[in-house]
Amino acid sequence: MTSALGYAIAGALLVAMGLAAMLLHHHLVRRLIAFNIMGGGVFLVLLGLAPGHGEQADPVAQALILTGIVVAVAATGLALALARRLHQAGGDVRLDHPSSREDDDDQK
């Protein structure tokens, strides 16, 4: 087993863990942590599986990961900006499970 594969497997496990946390938690900050850890896992898979391991890791994969990291921070930043505004408006940043609200909507 090469270390690259090891990192890829770790990435896969991180994704699964992150997913579980994302679904189990309702608090926004916890979900964002989970999202970022999932993202880290995906990046590990991406680089770990990328073909070719010379002196330097696959430059394309590196570039993709860099892009991914920036996108992730943008998403986190947006979510927090929305959450701050929600907090200001008196809302609750503990979001309910996305698919469990069906019946509430009917009562509006």
Binding site: V15, V45, L49, A75, L86, D92, R101
Partner: protein
Amino acid sequence: MIRSDALLPILVMLPLSLALLLLLSGRWGRFLSLAGMVLTTALAALLLSHGGQPLHHAMGGWPAPLGIGLRADGLATLMVMMTALVCSAALIYGEYWFDGAKAEQGRQFRPLAWLLWAGVNALLLADDLFNLYVTLELLTLLAAGLAALMATQAALTAALRYLMVALIASTAFLLGVALLYGATGTLALELISIRVAANPQPVLVVAMALMVGGLALKAALFPLHGWLPPAHGGAAPPVSALLSALVVKASFYVVLRLWMGPLAPLTGGVGPVLGVLGGMAIVWGGWQALRQHNLKMVVAYSTVAQMGYLFLAFDLLQGAGYASALNGMVLQAVAHGLAKGAMFLAAGALVVAAGGYRVDQLQGMASRQPLAVTALAVAGISLAGMPPTAGFAGKWLLLQAAWLNGQWLWLAVMLAGSLLTASYLLKVVAVTFLPAPVAASVGCGQRLGGVALMLALLALLAGFAVMPMLQLLAPVATTGGWL
């Protein structure tokens, strides 16, 4: 001299550059936006005039595996045109809707909507897997931001919930990309198709499940649809129109692209799953729409049901019915884009005029807001798949595909879905014929309804342009778009 295939990057860059200019411009924004609308729509028409001949542009001049390509075939062309029409309508509508106290949000809406237009075009023309991811992410963030624009507690909560769901979906999609990249060593869709076909390893099934699952989540496929109604129902009407007509459809489009391209050898077992979920979406979405008392929620649940048709069609995309199903689902997508856009715009106009969201507040609207009611009705006729609209053409072809494949259950579900659609729309339209209450006369012009009606009429007229549209699709239908 500009290259002829420069049209493709221009279709992305023009809206993007305009969005930037709009961020800087003050009073002139409105005119800039209008001029840009005309220009971009004209460019979309120019693309249409290529008649579906595949157009390709290598970004940076680097050919595909190294660089990123843009690509337009008949399918992309049609969607680009639909996008141009919906975006134009939403932007014009926005100019009227965001006025007075909402003027400030209107100033913010404009550049964001233009960015969205750029993002949708970028997604439609993308020929690279990772590029698809970036465009999807751009759309997701824009959609969440736009959904939150009204900054009410409900809108913010819905936007955040949507964002969380969409981020899970994006992550799943990206993981699929990572697996595909690892297995094929490339990101160019065409090359992936070749390599997948050459070596269809089991890993690819996992990659496919991740990507299709993620996209289904973003497309609000039953039972992953819970986030959609509050997010789309709670947003400002022009935003709802953009989200329901374009953003949700973008995810569907990516599934379709992958389905016909890279994932084609693997789709066997997945079709029935999507079919079942799509069928349930049709029934459940329709039933929920029927139960809603909030006008915008009716329309939002209708999106859930209509997306069901699009996903059900993946199970029809096989055997003797392949070409019919493909044609049908593309027509359905175009028709739904136009009709649903019109419907949200019309609903917005009615809500303004009625001073409330409830369906029972719509009394008298048939005479007070005839344009908006007509728009709602015409769009509804298209959604219910009644002739002579584009929606009818789409449904006819889908039914034909089901018939050719002998998929009787889907045939029945689609027909029943039409009746459900007709019932929840009838419920809304009927109320407008009741006499208006004497009080409660909120001053509101016909302009909002007029814009909505324009879009609805396009859905109607598209029903007479079916053959030209299918001609555009003919190469896609025979070759699956690639190879």
